[in-house]
Symmetry: C2
Amino acid sequence: MKMVVSLLLVLFLHHGVPISSFSLQMAPFEDFQLLAPDAKEDADRIIRSAMNTTIVYDRLAYMTDTIGPRFSGTPALEQAIDWIVARAQEDGIIVKTENVMVPRWVRGREFANLIAPRRKSLRMLGLGGSVGTGGTTLRAEAIVVSSFVELDRQKENIRGKIVVYNQEFVSYSETVVYRGYGASRAEAYGAVAALVRSITPFGIQTPHTGSMHSSNIPAASITIEDAMMFARMQARGQTLQIELYMEAHALLDAQSRNIILEIPGCTYSDEYVIVGGHTDSWDIADGAMDDGGGAFVSWEAVRLIHALGLRPLRTIRAVLWTNEENGARGAESYADNHASELIRHSIALESDVGTFSPNGISFAGSSDARRILELIGGSLLSEIGSGNVSGVSVGEDVSFLNANGVPSGSLNVEDVRCGSDDNNPCLPYSHAPYPAFDEDNFLKSGYFWYHHTAADTIDKLSSRQLQHCAATLGVWVYAIANLPFLLPR
Amino acid sequence: MKMVVSLLLVLFLHHGVPISSFSLQMAPFEDFQLLAPDAKEDADRIIRSAMNTTIVYDRLAYMTDTIGPRFSGTPALEQAIDWIVARAQEDGIIVKTENVMVPRWVRGREFANLIAPRRKSLRMLGLGGSVGTGGTTLRAEAIVVSSFVELDRQKENIRGKIVVYNQEFVSYSETVVYRGYGASRAEAYGAVAALVRSITPFGIQTPHTGSMHSSNIPAASITIEDAMMFARMQARGQTLQIELYMEAHALLDAQSRNIILEIPGCTYSDEYVIVGGHTDSWDIADGAMDDGGGAFVSWEAVRLIHALGLRPLRTIRAVLWTNEENGARGAESYADNHASELIRHSIALESDVGTFSPNGISFAGSSDARRILELIGGSLLSEIGSGNVSGVSVGEDVSFLNANGVPSGSLNVEDVRCGSDDNNPCLPYSHAPYPAFDEDNFLKSGYFWYHHTAADTIDKLSSRQLQHCAATLGVWVYAIANLPFLLPR
């Protein structure tokens, strides 16, 4: 591909590093030719290639089915990483791995039972990072609260009890604080354990795990149904007795790896455009949606560009981070290892909120960069509906780069909007603006229905949507890599 | 209440029993005054009373929360029956119980694991009536089929294997044959066990139990996700190894009881209008929806009529059958015990397909009876939207009465339409004609999402809808009990 750079590049030194940079003082960038003459043609080739092969779905299905959960510190995660590396080498992509020490938390055997007013075995999942019950079955009266405000009001009645949080689901970001801080706040009032209603708008007796902040009392998630039942029982004046057994414990850190899949830039090879997702999953989830899909569409974006023989100006890296779920050590490690390069990272895009129908990216960066991205999206992706630039939020893994000044973004998909953002209250999915609403979409919607559960399986994803996501990311990163300058910060 | 019978009653003998009967030869019944002058006023009183109290929800929530599953042959079912009897006596209703010997099937401990191509613990539920695995863990290669047609095609490859049925959900009545006959048909080709994809349009790794026809090989339900995964694995050429352990076994029959709640007729006290549901549930389900709701709205219909001091011409009976789920012995027993009365049963109504938003009844009986019911529904229930008369299907329990000639019906509710009838393919619930579609309805819809699962809990029901169902049944049975004649057969 021939790249015509039709504006004056200002090369200057920043921390002693020569970089291609855009000078705001120069001229309004609308006047420049931001996109190469063949940018649209290249984008269309990427899109056509993506929509023409089911390889990303087939690979993700194979890996999630055959290897299953890929929890940090387990051989299965390393097996998955080996498998991805081998396939990417077959793709002819440059593949590197970087060692990362990751936390090793072990769930062990666990159970919870309601003992009174009746005996019932509870569906539960210990929260990631929780301590265990010390080899014994903890048994205590339970008290149900619907909020931290109510916990505080009841602080004199907490000591020695198991606190059950029966908070309503408002949005993920708002409600997840109960999973995060439920145990530590209950512990502060003398509770012996915390049971947190799963962070989801909907379940079918479905417990959801997830990480929690450090606490000395054990904590587990329970189902919506059971949390609501406990609240009804308490409202009737029935005394609740619950028993909890958890072998959860931490081991020494284990070694894992980030994977870096690279297409070298032909002009600014030491400048980078990043796209990525994470390879690890929770121990109970196949992690097709969270975040096998995100990792694989990032990989696929790079594979498509490589397979088409397209040569970007800057180096494109798909970074498949390890250990997002319970430590983000992969993201931290990448930011550390590549600290000196971060000034030459044009953008870091992440896909970690599902690979359903993409509509664009959420972006955290300067307004100048946003306007450039809007031009790219509008020019190259509006036809497939995924060229929007919205929001300001980014995902966990790129947040480490964003904190170091790297303009960052997150692939947005339609139905994850429900509950993912405080400004978007959870709506019935049928109200969501599906490009083509159909039963298939309906049943497969709901990222947070499956999030951190055993139901995060490949059947929740569609090949077409994965291809659409890969096409979208491929076009974004290739166009950004070919800008005349690094995205302005 | 004063009942004006404004048409000539033809009293004649049938099998030596004098009954109030309608003679088709007499005159078109449209000319008669079918409804008493105060019928509309009485119906409105029943409706207002029903909508004015949450007692049916409160009672059902209390019972399902406090007692939990009510499986045939268990003390919990008898405890629930005792509790209902005691409450109904407090209501001042005449309460009788009739002993019924019911099957006693015990699930025991059970598990299934995928062993190859990877190890995975499977969510499963042994099917009701299944045999166990003989005290050992059965381990065999699995073969996946998507239909009985495919099973037949593969008949040479079945011997010694575990057959996995991965049939698509089309409708409950069409698809449930795989649960019913999957084991026996696999056994005929030499299979050692059968695993059946749960009979539901949707799940979140949710196994559904249910009854099966007799077979000498063990059978269990697995989740949609796992069944689909096994099919993908087989399609890839991966060999599946599965292990299954089930302690399932039958014990001697145990004693249970039907409950009969009665308001004596003031004129034709030996003629009956029946409304009912079943008290028992599966062993793993609280049975709020199936069929606590149906039993309790039937009871509530009678309680409302009694509490208003309304005196029907004929005797109204709420029959709360035992053992619908795995034997229907309660229904069989009622039909046997009351065989001589069945000719004087005007109608038998059942509620066993959920107590969501009612829209009328499905009716199996003569076209003359149907026209009478249409007149009643149109006159008394159209304002609350539950006066329609449709279909020809009736539920399991009243089918024993219908087989003996009793005109029979089933309370219809809106969202159960999905998949409940071969002529109504499963539509997205948002397409259903909700009177007032809202998120609450959306999330609570889907009878078959929860059917025979641990998620059949009271939170799936709303008090308003239960009250609406009770009002509807109350109006139907009171009006039918006050007809000048028994419903024509």
